[in-house]
Symmetry: C2
Subunit: 425 residues, 2 copies
């Protein structure tokens, strides 16, 4: 598509979302929940059409030699369409994030002040392969009274278009304003870049995808960006650790799912615990197919037991592998561990394993991350696990919302003041 | 200064602030309050030195033909230094915004979850003429455990340098980490632009100044920006209004202080109220020296009473005058008023004057602004008036914090999870 046409398409969809956002903010929770239920029903009744559109994407991706793991992320079948529908229905049951009175006071001059939660307005979500994000993002935005502007990856273009059309039609039939679920069909880079220019039309832009996408958004966007999902997470095993707990935690944090942002990428171990802890831990990880990138002290312990390691480089400390790789480093105590985490971490999820309470509290207080754990796996960083419900990502920045970016994070607030003619002296 | 040197200076100060932020986040409220008291005392004991530095700025500004109102904003005397010191002491009395447990739950797996407030980290403030901002921003950042990187305008360079040096020395003597109050001495534009590049070092950038400065930051910065202080505010007089209240409110909102962001810039009046309300209201405003930019219907009412008006253009609806000017428009009811406000407003402070409750509630619900008022002056939008204490600006964006940007808005939070070996299934 010509660049001018792409820009016009993006502007039109964003302006329609802007126009819809005013009416959407005035809808009741019942109306929005009714629309979510209708959207879920529509996904089910149009499942075949959606799966047929997905088949076109799958065929093109196979022809292009796409690797199996990506093809799996792209694929939709009856079960996955049903899962998208069920996720929309799960949103219905969550409490309404709008209209909450967060503060209420009568000022000394008699004015009654309230701080009330309101939608952000227009939320743009820029994402990559998985077509289920189209339904998830549309649903969470609608539940929170926000108009959504969705822009998925080119590989899933037919799937996204089919899902978005079904959802938008169902929302409109259920009385939601036209334009409240918009999909930018152009998958050219120019489309995403144009979205990022629309300061004043779009209130927030949420990239969901790899570090490259997120960096590009941060560097380019005039619309405020929420950084999500880069997780170079650490598990630190203190000298006082229960080694059985520690082994279970590092195996879970590394191996439960390799490609998720809360997976551990580096294991830090106190020097005094290295001999006692590392051999069985590293053997267990190696047996699960994990390649170990070890510093000198850790590799010496491993080599003495015949466990193979690669030498770790500076790059390994800074790498989010999202794969069956783990960096391993021996440190001299909790201060060095905290320094390492704060230097190389991405402020996502960080864990200490220790029976010593002072060590735990030092780590929890001084590590700068969205979620800090003592004696638990980093794998728990998730909206559902935290009791927050569906999330749109894990925020690794400190502004607005940190950690699971769930319904409440998709709201702002306004001060409502009711007076009887007061003026300021 | 050469551009390379400027960049190096900015990077050094920002890195020092980053390094200080870790230790600062661990200080107790007592320690930070002690430092604020020491900073206040130091301003008083160094008042002469600060006033002497200010005299250099004043002399240069006078030579450059600076207008009187700007000279007044720049000027420091004993009283103003005392006011800066007293403002620091006022911060001591405010509650500590850090370490607040905002949520605490035991998850079903036994993990104890807490959400605890923490500092943002490093806060950069870019501002223009007033040297008191140096002390205000340094104080509010220190109170909230944030390292501050301050960059004032060239006109106040000597004043800012003197104030910042006194404050930094006093903070260090009171045990605060080196680098927690940093001033970028270079007043070249390159210095501010370099600050905006330091994503990952600086956590948030707050511009305080005119619309041009704020737009430049939004368009340039890779560091998240909080937009503050652009206020194209409206007072809407509904058909049901008590005209005496309405006159008092528009006079207060327009004339109390002309140059502030919560001042009214447009008066909207229902057609059915125009004859009854406008003559006395416009005469009162004109008598206070306000130039009236009126649409056809308003100017007809004014002309019939011999009140002079200018014809309003499309530009007038969109202009934040910050001066003795007011746009005046006759509208046909609350819907048209809301549409006008949402189209031309800057989401700052908006007021309706009406005795009809339904009209008030429609305006309060549907106007999209940080503060919405029924029957009170927009002049109340202020951290102190809202009971929030000192503020660093009025946020007109919806992310993170809206309205008065006070101590709580200078915090983020982290999730702290304490387990006993839990792993995720």
């Amino acid at each position: 598509m010509a660049e001018k046409t792409v820009r016009e398409e993006v502007q039109r969809i964003a302006e329609e979302a802007r126009a819809a956002s005013g009416a959407l903010a005035q809808t009741s929770a019942e109306e929005r929940n009714g629309a979510l239920a209708a959207m879920a029903a529509a996904l089910r009744s149009h499942a075949e059409e959606i799966i047929a559109a997905n088949a076109l994407d799958m065929e093109a991706a196979r022809k292009a030699g796409t690797k199996e793991s990506l093809l799996d992320r792209l694929m939709l079948d009856k079960g996955r369409v049903e899962a998208m529908a069920a996720a929309l229905e799960d949103l219905v049951a969550l409490p309404d994030p709008l209209g909450r009175v967060q503060d209420a006071r009568t000022l000394s001059n008699g004015i009654e002040l309230e701080r009330v939660s309101v939608p952000l307005g227009v939320v743009a979500v820029v994402y990559e392969a998985r077509p289920n994000v189209t339904a998830d993002a549309a649903g969470i935005c609608l539940k929170s009274g926000n108009a959504a502007v969705l822009r998925g990856g080119s590989m899933a273009a037919h799937s996204n278009e089919a899902v978005a059309r079904v959802l938008a039609d169902a929302a409109a039939s259920a009385g939601m304003p036209h334009g409240c679920v918009g999909l930018v069909a152009s998958t050219e880079r120019a489309a995403a870049d144009e979205l990022m220019q629309l300061h004043g039309v779009i209130d927030v832009l949420i990239p969901r995808g790899g570090a490259g996408l997120i960096r590009h958004c941060v560097e380019t966007s005039k619309v405020p960006v929420i950084e999500t999902g880069t997780g170079n997470c650490h598990v630190y095993v203190h000298a006082s650790a229960d080694f059985d707990k520690a082994r279970a935690i590092i195996v879970n944090a590394k191996c439960r799912r390799l490609g998720v942002c809360n997976a551990a990428e580096t294991l830090l171990v106190d020097a005094t615990a290295a001999e006692g802890f590392l051999p069985a831990a590293l053997a267990g990880l190696a047996a699960r197919g994990v390649t170990l990138h070890a510093d000198e002290r850790a590799s010496a312990v491993a080599a003495a037991r015949g466990i193979e390691t690669q030498p770790a480089t500076e790059d390994d400390w800074a790498t989010e592998y999202l794969a069956a790789d783990l960096a391993v480093r021996v440190v001299d105590g909790v201060d060095e561990a905290i320094d390492h985490v704060n230097r190389y971490g991405t402020k996502h999820s960080e864990a200490i394993v220790a029976e010593d309470e002072a060590a735990c509290e030092a780590f929890l207080a001084r590590v700068d991350a969205a979620a800090v754990y003592a004696n638990a796996s980093t794998a728990f960083t998730d909206g559902g696990q935290f009791g927050l419900g569906a999330e749109i990502g894990i925020s690794t920045q400190k502004l607005h919302a940190r950690g699971p970016f769930a319904l409440d994070a998709l709201t702002s607030y306004k001060y409502v003041l009711r007076g009887s003619g007061q003026v300021r002296a």
